[in-house]
Symmetry: C2
Subunit: 565 residues, 2 copies
């Protein structure tokens, strides 16, 4: 959809495009603009020397899965994307190690600082792709030399240098996904790692408590010490640091990963509108309140398509998409960027952790919310490499519209979260998931994928076939001294391998349930349990068919309970 007037006009003058920021958004906008307009003068200002640098790859560089920092700024075909590359390949002028100082909007001039001297660049269109800056909590001692971020290539190199100089103990502050990725990287180097989080759980903005418990349990299995609900009061020491929290933790260095905030300094100074979430306000075309100035990437606010509220969404895929939209719009196109639904994924040791849509805590603020926990194998149980995936599906109780999902496990997680993300974009209901025609073959999924099973579980619940109880409720029963039986229907080997320390637990393997049913009291609540929940459900149907009146199924499987008590 070309603007014809624009095309005619562009013959007459050579358009000048200035882009502040050489990250994903900036370079994508520049490249896209170049592909659409061979003549425009395109200049990119970048304060570092790292162009199109994949910040997301830093944990893997520390882990030494990625051998070289340059690998994180190469094209897929192996060419380093430096200023020379952009100049020769794309006729894009990149001013590296150059600072954008000030925008003069009326004159359409950007003042810059380059090699010690100031200069001015004229623009027809200015693109602000200034990214984010790590938010540093106000902790005394946080500016110590051995307190690092994990944001820039230099950060990563500092961490590796400390490691090579003999560092053995690290403290990571902040259990968001970057913090957790840092833990994995540092553990892979053999360090002793303590993860400190001020909120009450790991990955607190992504996961609800139930799912966060599973992740924390896996991190602990991998040797990460976790302190949640823990504030760091100060960091002292020089050679050896002391992190003062509830306890004093000694460390050779500290990594702070407490999130980022939009870098809006230059925009704000120029009177560009900043939103309540701290990012630059843009319309769907990614245009700011100044029609000649566009903005995209980590420095803007975008729309959450479920709540319709503004959010900051500093993700690599969004940054790329936004760069493309801007590249279109500053060269006469008319593209829009709609927003996000909050999909994200990260790797945590053997687990993949993924979310889409709203978590239950957030969803409750907007909707009459229900949720269900479902667990499943990720492929046919006889095919090698099988893993487990555990899903929390969040939906509107009335319309049954899907609002969000969290999936976690050592099985294939990304596939399932993307199906749910696509379902959410299409406002699908939980019920409609069962109609999806997914790709079954033994190496890829069980005959009924967890996405379909989740739909069945919700229906079973609403039809009264499944009367489930969440682990939190079971804990409440235990704490209030309620009399109930936990019926563990695992087989003998499973029951021996992982013991359950709950009073009144009875182990009867499912296949023997009918013949041993007389061992169970008929006057008490019976809660059936197994690792995934399938056998527990089957057991509940057997008990009810045999006249038991008060039977509940532990939702999602035993790990939800065993990580709680």
């Amino acid at each position: 959809m070309e603007d014809k007037f624009f095309k005619v006009a562009s013959i007459i003058f050579v358009m000048e495009i200035v882009i502040v920021g050489g990250g994903a958004t900036g370079m994508k906008a520049a490249s896209r603009a170049r592909r659409r307009d061979p003549e425009a003068k395109i200049t990119v200002i970048e304060s570092s020397k790292w162009l199109s640098f994949s910040r997301c790859g830093l944990p893997y560089y520390i882990e030494q899965k990625v051998g070289n920092l340059d690998d994180l700024r190469k094209t897929p075909y192996g060419v380093v994307r430096d200023a020379e590359f952009f100049k020769k390949m794309k006729k894009i002028e990149v001013l590296e190690e150059t600072k954008a100082l000030e925008i003069n909007r009326s004159k359409k001039v950007l003042k810059i600082l380059r090699r010690g001297s100031e200069d001015e660049l004229n623009y027809d269109f200015l693109v602000l792709a200034t990214g984010a800056i790590p938010s540093k909590p106000p902790i005394p001692g946080i500016d110590s030399e051995k307190v690092l971020g994990l944001y820039s290539p230099e950060d990563a190199d500092k961490i590796l240098r400390l490691y090579r100089n003999g560092a053995k103990r690290a403290v990571v502050i902040g259990a968001g996904f970057i913090g957790i990725e840092a833990c994995e990287a540092l553990k892979s180097l053999g360090l002793d790692v303590t993860l400190i989080e001020a909120l009450d759980r790991v990955a607190p903005t992504m996961l609800d408590s139930d799912m966060a418990r599973l992740l924390a349990s896996h991190l602990k299995e991998k040797g990460v010490k976790i302190l949640t609900s823990t504030k760091v009061e100060k960091i002292s020491g020089e050679n050896e640091l002391i992190v003062h929290a509830k306890d004093k933790i000694s460390a050779d260095f500290v990594v702070v990963a407490t999130g980022v905030k939009p870098n809006v300094e230059i925009a704000e100074k120029a009177g560009i509108e900043i939103g309540s979430k701290g990012g630059i306000v843009v319309n769907e075309r990614l245009q700011t309140n100044d029609p000649s100035i566009y903005a995209g990437g980590d420095c803007i606010e975008t729309t959450n398509l479920i709540t319709n509220e503004k959010v900051v969404a500093p993700f690599g895929d969004a940054a790329n998409k936004q760069g493309r939209v801007i590249g279109d719009n500053i060269t006469g196109g008319n593209s829009i960027y709609k927003g996000v639904i909050g999909t994200a994924i990260f790797k945590a040791f053997d687990f993949s952790v993924a979310v889409t849509g709203l978590n239950e805590e957030t969803a409750k603020r907007y909707f009459n919310t229900s949720s269900i926990l479902v667990s499943s194998y990720d492929r046919t149980h006889y095919y090698p490499g099988m893993g487990v995936v555990r899903m929390k599906l969040i939906f509107d109780s009335n319309s049954r519209r899907i609002l969000g999902a969290q999936i976690i496990g050592n099985g294939v997680v990304d596939k399932r979260i993307e199906v749910i993300a696509t379902a959410i974009m299409n406002k699908m209901t939980v019920d409609a998931l069962e109609d999806l025609d997914l790709a079954y073959a033994p190496p890829y999924s069980p005959a009924l994928d967890i996405v379909v099973t989740a739909s069945h579980v919700v229906k079973n619940k609403f039809e009264g076939l499944l009367n489930s109880i969440k682990a939190e409720e079971v804990k409440n029963l235990i704490e209030s001294g309620e009399d109930f039986v936990l019926l563990d229907v695992r087989n003998e080997v499973e029951a021996k391998n992982i013991k359950i320390n709950i009073k009144n637990t009875i182990n009867i393997p499912l296949p023997k349930l009918r013949e041993r049913i007389s061992e169970l009291p008929r006057d008490k609540l019976i809660i059936t349990a197994c690792p995934l929940g399938l056998r527990a459900y089957e057991a509940s149907r057997i008990l009810i068919s045999e006249g038991f009146k008060n039977v509940k199924v532990l939702e999602g499987g035993l790990p939800f309970l065993l990580t709680l008590i």
Copy 2:
């Protein structure tokens, strides 16, 4: 949604349910009915002794990835699902090695043959889950002892026995997914394998020619000899078989995998309606024209939700879903099974091959059809284990509604096909794919996933930024002696590793294109090419910006062309 009258009625009489067929559909219907109705008398008739047997696992048993046939009929928690299991666990009576002879619909009686004597079973509801039977082409000699199927556990054991007795050479007839899975299994045992297909390509009902070429090329790389457009005239010999095709091929045994057809014998004899595709006709509740008789699984016809035509869809996931729907409906529920869109996946050595919706050949019969070929890495190029995925996306030229996709490669294929399948179920357009908020992190996908890229490529094409040419058209140009330049923009190492034997091929690595542009003729058609298509697109934009008028991009990347010429 319970039928209240039914509930009341069920107190008065014990319902008798008879199910013919103990496969996925039959046992799922039985189990689901039991969970909903503890009292019903449920009897399953099965001609073999294999209940709930995962036929899809047979190739992996031959390959010895699955150690034991019993693994293919175990529950995920390790219990063999035999008659005893169903009796004790689910109070379901299974009559193994029993044949259903005849349905007396007016008396509601099923006549059976069991241990040499006939018997009769009364039913209130009869479920036909009779599955499919392998379709044997009328080839003289096909009944030889060493001509086997790959359908029953016995087939698999016969193949393994022949292998253990020294068989070295096998011929597989039929290049559908079972035939290809058989090739992989037999090659893994070290056999010499020839695959013969009557149609002009491998996986002919799933893949269009372009995608089939890529698969064939991979199969050949793995040592499978492929003969397409080849009819087997007869099979002769006893100890050593001779397969008479264009050539005579010696083999120690032959595997016939030429598809299956619905097993409708007993239904047809009883006057149950059979459709034009050869399957039992059912409504959305999976009820036949006799309201007391339901049918599901490989023996029925279901609806293709894109064309609204009846199809036979013998897939394990559909069988399971349909069993559940039947289990509901014969116990007073009201569930429906909507149909399929044709999603399927299989593993072929290092490749995954997946389809959803219509292929282009079929789509053209119903829609004004366009298609696009897109290739991409499956994750960030610096993350270990990266693979390639190649996608053909088929869509309606007018509405841009997505009609189908084929994805193939050594990268992660299943995720992308399921996203597209979900998109098709929601009648999404190609354009809307770019708005999907997918799960990006380096181990899982590139920042822009191929699903999003495909949307961009289609838009580039429609906006005139991308002028692409398909490999078939390039071949036509070559054959008609047209003068053009194939501009190979790979780097020197790549160009040396895989040579292109096309006249007038010029290799200029993309980063050097601007400086070496004078080497290219301005008066000829220039076709830019690279392995994936990304660099070729970039090259085309550079040439056009430098005033070249006649530039096209080889769509989808070099392999589409190199497998054709």
